[in-house]
């Protein structure tokens, strides 16, 4: 029998600390597959965030640098400018990228830094115990919105992919989800493309990945996949918002 699915080489052969059923693990694997397929492991440098994926540097067989909360795009900017032949990516949660790190991501995107950003939107702060994030849906209960997010008080959930798409410089911006095998395949293509853009066009690329947090959503992992489908996708539509000109 021929192998049709095996662990990608760039994914470290270790047990992760993620909760059972948390889709951070799927997203890690897709990144590792893209790195393998593009054969860029030797020159790839990841930048890890603060959040549940703070230990991401333990899970890839590529170089990594840890950044302060939200500052990964600034750290990635420095690495890429110092080592222009490297392939630099950040891995950031929605608390990290859309809250404390909003300035860094907006300006890195606006400058058109040639980095790849993998933005994991699970509509909550996972690591710190399920507080409301800027991405938390209207009415969604969290530990800091026990009666549900009140948009009059806290504003509306922020759509980062759309917001960043209004900028001139970014080359590729997409939103995908990892709650079903079909969506995982689409996510794989978008993530690979976001790395290809950096390798070929040397421009800014970002993929927003809708992800689950079964633990803080208070749902069994399979129910969390459904919750994402029914609640997140209607508000956060999937698709490519910006593609490189040649491919349009």
């Amino acid at each position: 029998m021929k192998p049709v699915f095996t662990r990608p080489r760039s994914l470290a052969d270790v047990t992760t600390h993620y909760c059972p059923g948390c889709t951070h693990g799927i997203i890690h694997r897709l990144i590792a597959e893209a790195i393998d397929e593009l054969d860029i492991a030797e020159r790839t440098i990841g930048v890890a965030p603060v959040g549940c994926s703070v230990l991401a540097y333990n899970y890839f067989n590529v170089d990594f640098q840890e950044a302060a909360h939200g500052r990964a795009p600034a750290v990635a900017t420095g690495i890429k400018r110092a080592l222009p032949d490297s392939v630099v990516f950040t891995y950031q949660g929605d608390g990290d990228l859309a809250s404390i790190g909003t300035a860094e991501i907006v300006h890195a995107a606006n400058r058109g830094e040639a980095i790849t950003v993998i933005y994991v939107n699970n509509a909550i702060y996972g690591m710190t115990g399920g507080q409301m994030a800027p991405t938390t849906l209207a009415g969604q209960k969290t530990t800091t919105s026990p009666y549900g997010r009140d948009v009059k008080l806290c504003g509306y959930p922020i759509r980062m992919a759309e917001l960043l798409s209004t900028l001139v410089a970014p080359r590729y911006i997409a939103r995908v989800a990892v709650n079903s095998p079909a969506h995982v395949q689409q996510a794989k293509r978008a993530i690979k493309r976001a790395f290809e853009v950096q390798v070929n066009d040397r421009g800014f690329a970002l993929v927003e990945v809708l992800s689950t947090c079964p633990t803080n959503w208070g749902l069994p992992p399979k129910k969390a996949l459904e919750w994402l489908e029914e609640n997140m996708i209607p508000y956060y539509p999937l698709g490519e918002f910006k593609v490189p000109k040649e491919a349009e």
């Binding site: 049709v4 699915f5 992760t16 993620y18 059972p20 059923g21 079903s180 095998p181 069994p220 992992p221």
Partner: protein, 71 residues
């Protein structure tokens, strides 16, 4: 004769059941008679001869527990 084969790295399994949810032939389940190194009931295959080697289980597994082979 089975068209496919799934191999589990049992001690990495966290028992989340995402694989059992997506298997089109519903031949995956948690082995409640076993407890792995992490303390979970690991996923296993009930009717290996019905595996078609589609790898949907492996693609949904957050922990890269499953390897898939096909004729």
């Amino acid at each position: 004769m089975a068209k496919g084969k799934v191999v589990f790295n049992e001690d990495r399994c966290k028992g989340c059941e995402l694989c059992t949810t997506v298997c089109p032939n519903k031949i995956l389940t948690l082995d409640t008679k076993k407890i792995n190194k992490l303390g979970y009931h690991p996923a296993t295959v009930t009717n290996p001869e019905e595996c078609i080697g589609c790898a949907l289980c492996a693609r949904m597994c957050p922990d890269c527990v499953i390897e898939v082979y096909r004729e």
